[in-house]
Structure formats: C-alpha cells, structure tokens
C-alpha cells in the first residue's frame, strides 16, 4: 500500500514537472538549414518576391490599413484571430527581431518571447523555405517596409484555445518535420521549383488540403494521398487540385499558369479567396514560376493520364443544352432563369466563351461541396482583378435584387445538375444564409 502511494506520488510529481516543463521550458528553435556565406546578400527584389509568393500582405494588412501593419480579423473555427503588425516598427511591429527570431516564427511558429503563434500563420508550410529566401524576406521587412506604429487587437480565443502552450503538442503533429525543402528525386528542376512554391511560400495546402482530426493540414507534400485534394475555408470549398475533374488536371499547364497570372483562363475565372490570392500574390510571380507550379500540380494529379483531355475533345450536345435551345414554355424554373439571366454570356452549352465568360459545365465553383461560393457569385457577382497580362476588371453583376431565395436556389440547383455536372441541390435556406451574411 505504502509502496503504491509512493509510486503514485512519484508519478504525480513527475507529471507536474513534465507539465511545467511543457509549459515553461522554451521551445528549441530551428536554426538555418543552410550555412550561408557571411557576405551573402539577397538579390535585388528577391525579398519582395518571396513576400509575394508567400502572400504576407493579404493577411497582415487590414482593409484600408497600411501595408503589413496587421489588424485583420481571420475567422477561424476557434474564434477570431487578429493578424499582427510585421512592419519594422520597434514597439508594435517586428523591428527588434533578429534573423533567428524571424526564422523561428516562420519555421517553428514561436515569437521571440516563446509565445506560440496560432497556425492561421502557415508555418507548417513556411517551414520549407530555403535559408536564402528567409534572409531575403527578413531583409525586405527590415529595410524596405515602412515601419508603422499600430497596436493591433490581441487575439483572445475561448478556453481551451487560449492556452497557447497546447500548440506545442499540436506542433509535434503538424510541424515537426525537418525544416527546409527536400526536392523529389527523379523529378526535374521545373517540377521541384513548382513543388517548392506550392508546398512552401505559396502555402496552397493551407486551404486546398483537408484538415485532419487535429485541424492540421492532411499532408504537406505530394506523398500524402489527401494533399491538395480540397479543403474548406470559412465555409467555402477550396477545390481539389489533383483529381481528374480538377482545374490543374483538365487544363493545359499554360492555362493553369494563365489562371494564376490573370485570375482567368480559357475555362474559368477566380472568385472569392482565390481571386485575392491572384490579386495579391500569384500575378506577381514570373511566368516561369507559374508554369512550374502548373507543371508540378499536373504531375501530382491522380488522374490516369490522358483521360480527362480525351473526354474534353469530344463535343457532346448535352440534354441540358437541348432543353435550353428548345426553350419550351413549360420548362422548369431553374433552366428558365438560366436563359433569362445567364445564357447571354455563359451560353446554352454552359461552355462560356474564351477568357471572358467562364465555363459552368465542370466548373469547380459550381459543383463545389459547399454551395456557398456559387450562391455568393449569383447574389453578389464577382470581379476579376486588373493584372498586367489581363488588365480588365471583368465583372459579373449580382442578382440579389432580381432573384428571390427560391429562384436562386432553383437556378443554382439547375447549374449543379446541368450539362455534365452532378452536385447536390441547393435550398432556399442555403441562399438565405448567404444573403444574410452580406447584410451584417
């Protein structure tokens, strides 16, 4: 009995010591993955380029705020996370950070005082950045960004997520792999450049990979089956990029690169979050880099090669197209609304026209698991950003004032079931939920 008490007591003490250690012993920070020459200087523009590739601006700048001064609200399932000021301001920004501090934030998700960052900051992905790019990025933030004094609201999540030390355990699951980039052997330079951009700075998996049980990205490179097979962001579907019906697999690499550079290509157009990604990030990448991304995505596709393009090559007049062409007076509400509102641009074939009117047949937004994106575009329209290669802010108008919830539901359901699309119906309640969102 005594012995048992002693053993239990020892275990309790050990447990408490372990817990205290878990909470208070500083996290081991990852050092540089490459020892650079002491006189290493990043090339002119390299830091800004890494910033664009990493899209730091998008999250760390508030609507109407100064660049990188933070304060933007990120809605997470755990609550609102406020992005931080990453200008070189010494009081409110990162002006006092050393290169090692900066690297630790990108690799380990910890601030200089050991506080864990919430993984809304995609250090799971940034952990793959090369030392050259980290130094370049550090140099950019320290010397090229205007310091802005801006104290941002502190993130206060509810229990248990306010116990930031818990992230230490989460990191064991999500970000404990060896830092730095490991090219895939047997693949060429272009593939690996694409891989580096997608998996590292581009942090595509943050949205496009599903999350596992622990809310970590389910796979951070192509060896994981679930990697980039689609995720969810704020209730919107981030589409699969690897399946046979996905954009990067159906399109040519040139078309995928055009999508990244201009938010549009011969088939589709970027809306919602992806439109912002193009606006703030990918349009600034070189043509070679966007082609590298497209090539990498193409090569990691799960489709048996050739199938998708063979299907595309055969022009088929679908039943939907026939019904729309016949335009019988007794046609159902959905297709009738399509004829009255959509067919002028998107055509009865659902194929749209070139880079101006997106294709709706096989469009990942139309058939997305969550219909929120489709409903939002029907209600509020969408505008493409002005880019160097395609300066036109092509804009689809919204129909929120013209169509009722029931009508939008009928139209969206028609789109999701029309031509070769097969996706579940949309209800008026779904539409109302999206409509209400905009009224807040």
């Amino acid at each position: 009995m005594k012995k048992l008490v002693r053993v239990l007591g020892t275990l309790v003490v050990l447990g408490i010591v372990a817990l205290l250690a878990f909470i208070f012993v500083p996290v081991q920070r990852t050092g540089p993955v490459t020892q650079l020459a002491s006189d290493f200087k990043p090339a002119t523009g390299q830091g800004e380029y890494v910033m664009r590739a990493g899209d730091c601006l998008a999250c760390h700048t508030n609507e109407g705020g100064k660049p990188f001064a933070g304060g933007r609200a990120i809605q997470s399932p755990m609550g609102t996370i406020w992005t931080t000021n990453i200008t070189p301001d010494k009081e409110t920004g990162i002006g006092n950070w050393s290169l090692d501090d900066f690297r630790a934030a990108l690799y380990d998700g910890v601030t200089p005082n050991g506080t864990h960052l919430y993984p809304a900051m995609p250090y799971e992905n940034y952990r793959k950045l090369s030392e050259e790019d980290i130094v370049a990025l550090y140099d950019y933030f320290m010397h090229q960004v205007e310091p802005v004094s801006n104290k941002v609201e502190e993130t206060r999540l509810g229990f248990p997520f306010n116990m930031r030390f818990g992230l230490r355990a989460w990191n064991w699951l999500a970000a404990s792999y060896e830092a730095g980039f490991k090219p895939t052997t047997g693949q060429d330079e272009q593939f690996n450049r694409g891989k580096y951009l997608v998996e590292g700075a581009g942090h595509c998996a943050a949205c496009h990979s599903p999350r596992n049980l622990f809310m970590a990205q389910d796979g951070i490179d192509e060896t994981s089956k679930a990697f980039l097979t689609g995720g969810e962001i704020d209730g919107y579907t981030a589409p699969d990029l690897r399946g046979p019906a996905s954009g990067p697999q159906k399109w040519t690499t040139e078309q995928t690169a055009a999508y990244l550079a201009t938010a549009r290509n011969a088939h589709s157009a970027a809306t919602g979050e992806m439109m912002l990604v193009v606006r703030d990030s990918t349009q600034y990448l070189t043509r070679e880099d966007n082609l590298a991304i497209a090539t990498y995505l193409k090569k990691i596709g799960t489709a048996p090669a050739g199938n998708a393009s063979a299907a595309l090559a055969t022009p088929v007049v679908t039943e939907t197209e026939k019904m729309l062409t016949d335009a019988k007076a007794d046609m159902p509400l959905g297709p009738r609304l399509y004829l009255d509102n959509c067919a002028a641009c998107h055509i009865v074939s659902g194929k749209g026209a070139g880079e101006t009117f997106p294709e709706l047949d096989g469009n990942s937004l139309v058939t997305a698991k969550s219909s929120k994106g489709l409903i939002s575009v029907i209600l509020h329209g969408a505008e493409l950003p002005s880019t160097a290669d395609r300066p036109m802010k092509l804009r689809m108008q919204g129909y929120d004032k013209r169509l009722s919830d029931e009508e939008v539901a009928a139209l969206a359901t028609f789109l999701r079931e029309g031509w070769t699309n097969k996706a579940p119906a949309v209800s008026a309640a779904d539409v109302k939920a999206v409509r209400d969102l905009a009224q807040h």
């Binding site: 641009c345 300066p391 092509l394 689809m396």
Partner: protein, 589 residues
Amino acid sequence: MTRTEKKKDVVLVGFGWTGAIMGIELAQEGLEILALERGHDQATVPDFQYPNMIDELKYGIRYGMMEKPANTTVSIRRSLEETALPYRSLGTFLLGTGVGGAGTHWNGLNWRPMLSEYRLKSYTEEKFGADVIPEGMQIQDYPMTYEELEPHFDRFEKVAGISGQAGNVNGKIIEGGNPFEAPRSNDYPMPPMPSTWDGVKFRDAAKANGCHPFPSPGGIASKDYVNEYNMQMGPCNHCGFCERYGCYNYSKSSPQTAIIDALKRKKNFEYRVNAEVLRIEMAPDRKTATGVTYFDHKTGEEVFQPADLVILSAFALNNVHLMLLSGIGQPYDPNTGEGVVGRNYAYQMLGGYTMFFKDENFNPFIGTGANGYCIDDFGIDNIDFGKEGFIGGAYWRAGQTNGQPGHTMPLPADVPSWGAGWKKGIGEWYGHAMSIGAHGSLMSYRDNYLDLDPTYTDRHGRPMMRMTFNWKDNDIKMINFMQTKMKPIVESMNPTIAQAGFKKEGAMFDVRPYQTTHNTGGTVTGSDPKTSVLNRYLQSWDAHNVFVMGANTFPQNTQYNPTGMVGALAYWAAHHIRKDYLPNPRPLV
C-alpha cells in the same frame, strides 16, 4: 472662385474614344496625363448592367445616356437669313456624355472611307473636271494619304475589335468581302457576325442584281477577343440593344472594353469626371496654350489646369465650340469666305426603303447595331460625277438593329398612328418588315457652318454654338439616284408593300426625327491654313501645343459612319506627337 491645379504634361478634354487612345498612347511616353470628362464615370457593371440597361423607355425614348440639352446644346438655323433657336429636345442627333462618350452608345458600324474620299477635290477635278463642282461647294482634300493612314486604320480595328470580312488585302480581292474597299494590310481581327434573315434576303437579291454584297463590318464581337492592350470582349448575343445603350455583355467595342482598364493601370494617368472644360487658356502672345479652365461640378468652382499640351478629344461639336470660345484660329465668315473655325460643317444624307412581307417573319428581337449585309456598288468611287450630276455616293445596308416597340416598329403608311387601327396594324405587321438603307456622303458648302450664337448663352454664360445647316441639291440628287438604283432590287424581292423614304428636291433640314449623330467638320484638317484649322497632324495652325481630334477634322463628310476614320486619325496624330512633336515641340508643318 478659381483654384489652380498642379501642372500636367498633357490635358485631354473629353474621355471617349479619342481621349482614351491619346491617353494610353501618350502614357507610354511617361508623361503626366490628365483627362477631363464633363460627364459621369461609367463602367459596364454596374452602369450598363442587365437588365437595367435594356430599358427602352429610359434609354431609347428618354435618352438616359445622352447629355441633357438643358446642360449643353447648340442653336440651329437653316440659312443665313433665319434666326437660330436652341435645340431643346433631342431629335436629329444624340449627344452622349460621360466616360466613354459616344463610344458607349453607338451602333458599332466601322468603316474606312473609299480611296477617292481622301482627295475628293483633286479626284473630282482630275477625273471629271473642276466645273462639276457646283457653286458654293467647298470640298477639299485630306492633307494625308490613305497609304499613310492605313497602318492606323489597321491598328484601330484591332484595338476596337472589329468583326468583318476583308474584300481587298494588299490589292488581292477576297471573295465574300467588299471588292471596292480601299486595300487593307490585314483582314479584320474577328470573323464577320452572322446575319439575320433580312440581311440574308438582301444579300441574295443584291447578288442576283449583279451587286457585291458583304457582311457589315462592326465593333460587335463575333467571338471572344483580346486586343493589343490585353483588353477583352466576349461574343455578342444579338440582344438588339446597341445604339442608345451601353452594352451589358462586353460585346460592343467601346473605350470601356478596349482601353480604359489598361489605361487606369498607368500611374502617370489620371482622369477627373464632372469636369467640364470652359475654354483653353492662351499665353499672352497667343501662340501657345497654357492649359484649360474647367468647371468642377462637384465643388461648383472654376479650376485652372495648367498643361504643356492640350488635346481636344471631346465630341465633334464640343471641340469646335471650344476652339471658337478660346479664340484659337479665325472664326469663319460665310459672307466673305474668310476665317476657318466653324467652316465646312457637314452631316449625313440618308434614305431607304422599308418593305413589308405578309409571309415573312424577321424576328426583330434579334439584332445588332452592325447587323446584316452591305453593298458598295454605288459607293462614291463607283459614281460618274459628270454623268450623274452630283458628287457623292452611298453604301447600302440591310440588317435589323432592334425590334424595340417604342421606336422601331415600322408600319405601312396607311396604318393610323393611334387607336384601334394602329393596334390592328401592329398585329398585322410587327415582325414582317425589313429595310434597306442608303448611307450617303454629304459635301461641305459655303453656308453650312458653325459659329457663336449672338443671342443664346449656356449655363456658364458662354455663347452657345450656332449651327447653320440645310440640305443641298447635290446631296439630294445623290440620294435620289440611290432610290432609282434601289427600286429594282426592292421590287425583285417581291414585298407585299414597299415604302420609299428619300428626301425630295427642296427638302429642308428638320431637327425633330432622329437621323444620325454623324456631325463633321468645323475644325478641318488641310494643307492650307486659309481653308483649314489643323495641319496634317491635327495640330492647330495657330497654337502648336493644341491638337484636335474627332470628326470635326473631316473636310467634308464621307459616305460612311465616321468612327473608323476618327480612330485612325487619332492613332495617326498620336504617332506623330510621340515621334515628332514631343522631342521638339513646335509647329510640325
């Protein structure tokens, strides 16, 4: 109250087609450029969006896109003896306003004049003798050749996105195109639009009568398109809402679809709306302009905008008005024939047949502004001026533009214009009518001109511009000739009823019914400062840092819709400003 804005290198007065062309071309030189637009800002979405735009009452009948005469208008009289009265209710021509200007509400018909039209005076004298030119006619040559303009026509067609079928590429006649067109270096950038049934019927009848029909060339996209500025168009759906409307479908060429978003990316370009230019300010020696004064409708104050280069790129009538108000160049006096500003105002001579077919259904709800087929067999190059007794010509076109019931519902002449008989007529004939139009040239004359009105002023207290214009025998003869040639073709089509609509000898200009907005001349380009306001680079003879764009530069009107020529001249002028003027600002001639 007058405020002074920071000086710019270039100020553009008006932000339509020519303002946008000049803006994007000169922006490439790194100059600081400002466009001042009298009207409001407008973009495809939300301003032209569906279905709001296709409101016939608002835009087709009540002219929602047009400048209100209460804000800007002209006074009109038909002879030196009449007293001009303000044009208070829009009728014969429709003056646009806002960003994109008339380039937003046009029909899209796009042409290059025929070869004789660039040197009409010399051509006429050489071929038919000087004595065929009647007393009082003041035709003259363009000071540049077609060969010089050709690359700029080509450029404008590619920028604007014109659909059509070439008929003459570098002298090689192409089957199916217009064999009489001036030789072009390239085909149109887009294939021709498909035609509705009325156009096809005309095509077949014209062909059977020995003519050479070809699809109408127009700024209506037949496919998806990307131009040299990477701007985009989408294929047209033939909704029939072109003229008087902005296109909701990104299908009609306009500054919005062809240029503006690309121009907005230039950091050295700025535009201000609701900024109505009142006059060009001159240096004390009156040899150069120092900038412009505009009325800022947002703040209600006059603003002086200094600039090194002033480019007038407003609508034709406004450009002439500003030159008159600013005292650049001597105003034209029809009594002495001296002076140049306001000289050679011209318009357009139109005529045609409307045919009713009991058993045909034309589905008039399908259409575009540049729909159908044309012939140039009676074009100006193909007319014997000596034999026929007139100078001029016309192109013909059949192709319905719309079937809007409020203003496009042709009825046989014996149908009453109201009541039960009217309703019965509508029931019987709506959708069964088609027309063939002859779109003819109009020459310039001693007493058709523009000057400042001695009585009426505008809302800023400036003298209104006065238009003195009437039809002349020469052009009426021309259109009557077209009637005699059209009649047998019409009869060969065997309509149930055919109605002729051609002006008769002695016809007086009537401002009430809509005719056309093709107002030309007033600040014409020429090689002699005694008979022109602008030299061959559209540069003012009197102030070398003032350039003037627009159809107001035409020495007389051509037989075509003017936009193609206006666009080509703008690119021609832009090219010479960039190449010759900017390196060494001076009179270029």
